[in-house]
């Protein structure tokens, strides 16, 4: 039975937040960090609390810590040593494994994310701008009061028009293919796969293979916790639009090319079900927009290219043990929208997302290493994921076509990783445990 009242809400619920802020913090003394944490715990809602109060709540708080952050709070060495290696090393130290090279490498990261003093993140989501201002004001004041707590950087999030569906700066509908946890009360939409054992995403429960050994110690710290891989991806909207204009003659062809990169039309309609033209009704219909597969319906990629983003991030029936490589995504866009006809203004905009899973190495890192930044994915050769893979300007993208396929060479980077980190997302009891540690 899932302990809804102990699991932080971000794992199991989506909130109607339109805006928010990520606060990246450092603790120079454990007592200060614990004082900050103690004051925030009453407003960190569990999944149960968030669900019960969703209509009335105006802001939602999530707290998570890096490995160095756990140490900075006073977690003893014997306990720190029981955490998984990838989490202990941190995302910046594993950049070569993840393919975060060139412009994406940690030396170019912003916001202090690559630094050894990144200890915690406070995710503040707010229903509206007024609440955003109020809540961040209260948090700033709290940080000022807590001796030894300092803000390294902040990132303000905001949705951009149109507001009736979640989308990124390229205009693509988001949040379409989400796994569902057994016992969460949610049912999967057709094509999203059967509900997964909770241990795939939450520590302390059996996963798809059964009971899980080697959890971090002590149990109170690990139980109902999870890991989050944070990725801040700058989206080069002007570059993307220019590329479409240069490589496709008509607006319809440009939309098709964009869809070939993504694997779905901007409306969310999957190419496999709508290979030639968009179908916005299909895109908006959760009972249909995820109900397809690849090996059976499009084995050679004539509808959805083998290397497209959606096909890499969820290879469906062409992958083995998919159930062990699913991820939960949360996040938001940041930065102002670039109007359709405007040239690139050089303003920083993009998506700042969290990939939540019980095993960073088996779920998040697997996707990065074996699907996104892997030249041998489907034996495509000189290709990485065209949307979120590392692109150094020399790679290709192949679009199967009859009579002859199209090969786009020298693909520019449409996004650049500007930072990331591995966080541990404790359960509510675990948060209290952290405040009660001795120095």
């Amino acid at each position: 039975m899932l302990e809804f009242d102990d699991i932080q809400h971000i794992l199991l619920t989506r909130t109607p937040a339109m805006t928010g802020r990520y606060e990246f913090l450092t603790f120079s003394n454990p007592a200060g960090g614990r004082a900050w944490l103690s004051e925030l715990i009453p407003v960190v809602e569990s999944a149960a609390a968030a669900q019960a109060s969703m209509d009335g709540t105006k802001r939602w708080v999530t707290l998570a810590f890096t490995w160095k952050g756990l140490r900075a709070l006073g977690v003893p060495e014997e306990s720190l040593e029981t955490f998984p290696e990838a989490f202990c090393q941190g995302m910046a130290a594993r950049a070569d494994i993840l393919g975060d090279t060139g412009a994406a490498s940690p030396e170019h990261w912003v916001g202090g994310l690559a630094g050894a003093d990144l200890h915690a993140i406070a995710i503040l989501f707010a229903r509206d701008d007024a609440e955003h201002a109020r809540a961040t004001g209260v948090h700033d004041e709290l940080v000022a009061r807590c001796d030894g707590v300092r803000s390294l950087s902040v990132l303000d999030l905001n949705a951009t028009p149109p507001f009736n569906f979640a989308h990124d700066h390229f205009g693509f509908r988001d949040r379409l293919s989400q796994p569902v946890i057994e016992g969460s009360g949610e049912g999967p939409t057709p094509g999203s796969g059967a509900p997964l054992k909770p241990g795939e995403f939450i520590l302390g429960y059996p996963d798809e293979l059964g009971p899980v050994a080697d959890l971090p110690q002590p149990e109170v710290l690990a139980r109902n916790g999870s890991y989050m891989a944070y990725r801040r991806l700058q989206e080069h909207v002007g570059v993307f639009r220019d590329y479409l204009r240069e490589h496709a003659d008509t607006p319809d062809d440009q939309e098709l090319l964009a869809a070939k990169f993504m694997g779905r039309w901007r409306s969310g309609a999957p190419l496999v079900l709508a290979p030639e033209r968009d179908d916005p009704e299909l895109g908006a219909d959760p009972m249909r927009n995820n109900d397809f597969n690849y090996k059976e319906m499009d084995p050679l990629g004539y509808a959805c290219p083998l290397g497209s983003h959606a096909r890499r991030l969820n290879p469906r029936d062409t992958a083995h043990n998919m159930n062990r490589h699913r991820i939960i995504r949360r996040g938001a866009t940041y930065g102002p929208a670039l109007p359709e006809s405007a040239p690139d203004d050089g303003v920083d905009r993009g998506i700042a997302a969290f990939i939540i899973c019980a095993s960073l190495v088996r779920q998040f890192e697997f996707a990065q290493n074996v699907w996104i930044n892997d030249r041998t994915f489907h034996e495509l050769g000189n290709e990485h994921d065209p949307i979120c893979g590392t692109q150094d300007g020399t790679m290709e993208f192949k679009i199967p076509n009859r009579p002859i396929r199209k090969v786009l060479k020298g693909l520019p980077a449409f996004t650049t990783l500007k930072g990331g980190a591995y966080f541990f997302l404790p359960g509510i009891k675990a948060l209290r445990y952290l405040t009660a540690l001795d120095s």
Binding site: A86, L209, A213, D214, R324, V361, F366, N369, D374, T376
Partner: protein, 184 residues
Amino acid sequence: MSGHDWSKPAAMAIPQEGYFELERGRYGPIYPRTPACYGFSIIAKVKEGREDAIREHGKTIQAAITETPEFLAPLRLHYLRWVLFDIGDGLTFQYQGIFDTDFDKYTEDAVQLFGQSGINTVFTNLEGFPEDWKENPDAFVKFVREHHFPSFLEYGEYPYVTADEIKKALRLKAAFSDMLDQMQ
């Protein structure tokens, strides 16, 4: 992969570590692709009295593949060789595989498949194999990595060619043959 000439046999000498330049995978160093594709050689001592159990697995695998020929497809295997030997230090088992996906990417799939077949239980007869291998796939991965010995020479008659490419070529050949026969 493009750039390699399948028609010219090739040999590759490999440094002692098993790689030319350290490239990190999620679980350890990545061993390079060679004219003999990818492979591993897991070598471990056999627990006292377990020889028959290991030999019995030969029959288990034969039966499994006869029943489900595609069973090992996720591993993209070319060849497997299992050997038991005692050259004075006690009974030792070698599990050698040649396949088309690199060791680091392959290990989880392999461990998973082993768990699904009867193949995993061959490992339980080996010294040092983790007791909690079922709940602890990471420990299984660690065992496989620690008992792998990289080659220092590999040779390929048709270098770098994948099993899929070979089967595709053979299918084409068969199709052309049929076509020519029908044109007679």
